[in-house]
């Protein structure tokens, strides 16, 4: 931790931005991961194929990078109790659907559209997440 990596961060960000842009230019779709994935849970005809294709691509892209660097990329799962981690992910799933988007849908696509809802949502989840980390790490 504390290992600041601005160059790879910026490169990754530019690629993510390119993907989000192409998705709107070609398919007219917002590249919001939570909505793309959750749309697969309640399939509607003619609306499933592109979602599945995007998710498969997401996995292939991550896999390609892992193969390119010649080893597993670093994934350090927090040392919190499993119940906290599982509960946290349940909240991520539930909250992103209730709030209609996540870091990609609101944070990238929505802000790029200058959507008021997305700007507010992004401010809320970033601030609440920072407060949660502060409480979890420095208070309790």
């Amino acid at each position: 931790m504390g290992s600041f990596t601005p160059v790879s961060g910026l490169m990754g960000g530019l690629l993510i931005g390119l993907a989000v842009t192409l998705m709107m230019l070609l398919n007219g779709r917002i590249a919001g991961i939570s909505s793309i994935v959750s749309g697969l849970l309640t399939p509607k005809s003619g609306d499933t194929g592109w979602r599945a294709a995007f998710v498969v691509g997401l996995l292939l892209g991550a896999l390609a990078f892992i193969l390119a660097v010649g080893g597993p990329t670093q994934v350090d799962v927090l040392a919190s109790p499993p119940a906290i981690l599982i509960g946290g992910l349940l909240l991520v799933g539930f909250g992103t659907r209730m709030g209609s988007g996540c870091t990609s849908g609101h944070g990238l696509c929505g802000i790029a559209r200058f959507s008021r809802r997305s700007i507010v949502a992004t401010a809320v989840f970033f601030e609440v997440a920072m407060l949660t980390v502060f409480l979890a790490r420095h208070v309790f």
Binding site: G12, W50, V75, G93, G99, A121
Partner: protein, 155 residues
Amino acid sequence: MRMVAALACGIIFGFGLAISGMMNPAKVIGFLDVAGDWDPTLAFVMGGALLVTIPAYRVILKRRRPVLASGLSLPAEEKLDVPLIWGSALFGVGWGLVGFCPGPAVAATVTALPPVLGFVAAMIAGMALHAWLSGEHTGRKSSSPDAGVAAPDPR
């Protein structure tokens, strides 16, 4: 063609996420932990992406239609409401507890690490719970006109 385009976009997105280091929850928590040993990398990832999407969207949103579809599928809802705020707050709590948001969580399943697979299952269960509670399983119209699932809105 639309499926090929979606596949290509997914590949670029996944590769970018992996390069950025954001598939590692510790990097994300490092950004969120402003009172600790702060790691500003996440701001460079978001900033890099917005550097592309903000100008590009200006051009694309003016077009009558996207290249491969009949219209742009944009969220119809514009007003701020309670589910938006509460949902985003609940997501923020979960994100702060684990350091995984949906994109990196899904992408990280390629590592096949058992805890990651369990996390993604829990996240999908959370999404399914919301769908069930809001009646999407019956085909009734959802109350959340969402990023990406709204009807095509050519403009």
